[in-house]
Symmetry: C2
Subunit: 202 residues, 2 copies
């Protein structure tokens, strides 16, 4: 059964849920899926490379792209702007490639509105206690930073019901399998198989 | 992650798509899922047993149950009535067991209306030509019967867009796997994990 278009997958979840690891492992094993590189106005951190983690652009460039409808979604976070360049994503989807956007909740809601067939996946911690330990466990940060991170995580968790699926990341291996199940099930959705329907009904 | 309730799965598809075989194989391998036995006013065929293939009841009994809201859905087919007894299904769902209803399109639409979280799965032939061969291949029937069956199958296929998922039954083994992927993905749906959400957000 052929699928015309790739699936647009939005992946969100609080810091400390291991979202990045799950995403990386998933991409290694699923050649039919690629990662959308966001544009950001924040400075590169040590080890980050332009065009790998992010496209690092100026605020002027960012707002010009925004005004030209160049972003599928964008958001401001801690004074920096982040956006998903629309052209690259659409090109991949049209070629049948699935695309993952790792973005936060506000951006996810923009995607849901613009691309109703997008699939919103939330990576959740097994429990709030475990999330707290993971956030504290990063170690060297002062308590007020940890409290602030926990507050942000709780605000993100409060929006979980806006997502289509929840993956609890208790073990990375299991979480990746669940992610694959979601992708594979979505490929079987009626709305994604119009060509087959036309063929079998003609 | 605990799921409170089982998933109500509606399985439909034209005769000749191997729907029954896929369903039987699926049930063998998935102890978390059981089959809803319909009630019917038609006579048992040789080899059929009351309470195994169907509950065989009289028309009087059928209409009494219908008036008492005893059916989740019901339909008339070739002069006989078929219905899904609601009590047994609800008891299983409440106990966390998934339930498969193997019913035709009219019944499926009634379920979608009454139980919006039900999952509608259509078993489709790989192509219309293959469906025709399968229907003819049953062998001993006269041409007008075959034509009539093909017409019914085409009318069913025309309603495929009302279903959530399509499983193309090219190979039984693959079709069963796809069915399992759908069930497992549905368990990860946000709407089916309210208890977890309450727990992790509290």
């Amino acid at each position: 059964m052929m699928n015309n278009k790739g699936i647009l997958i939005v992946l969100s979840g609080p810091a400390g849920t291991g979202k990045g690891t799950v995403c990386k492992e998933f991409l290694k094993r699923n050649a039919d899926t690629s990662f959308s590189i966001s544009a950001t106005t924040r400075s590169p951190r040590p080890g980050e490379e332009d065009g790998r983690e992010y496209f690092f652009i100026s605020k002027d460039q960012f707002f010009k792209m925004k005004d030209d409808e160049g972003f599928l979604e964008y958001a401001e976070f801690c004074g920096n702007y982040y956006g998903t360049p629309v052209a690259a994503v659409m090109k991949k989807l049209d070629a049948g490639q699935n695309v993952i956007l790792e973005i936060e909740v506000k951006g996810a809601m923009q995607i849901k509105e613009k691309v109703p067939e997008a699939v919103l996946v939330f990576i959740a911690p097994p429990s709030k206690e475990i999330l707290r330990k993971r956030i504290e466990g990063r170690g060297t940060e002062p308590q007020d930073i940890i409290d602030r991170r926990m507050e942000i995580a709780e605000n993100e968790l409060a929006l979980i019901h806006n997502y289509d699926y929840i993956i609890v990341n208790d073990q990375v291996e299991e979480a990746v399998k669940r992610f694959e199940i979601i992708k594979n099930a979505e490929k079987l959705k009626t709305i994604r198989n119009n060509e087959f329907i036309l063929e079998v009904c003609k």
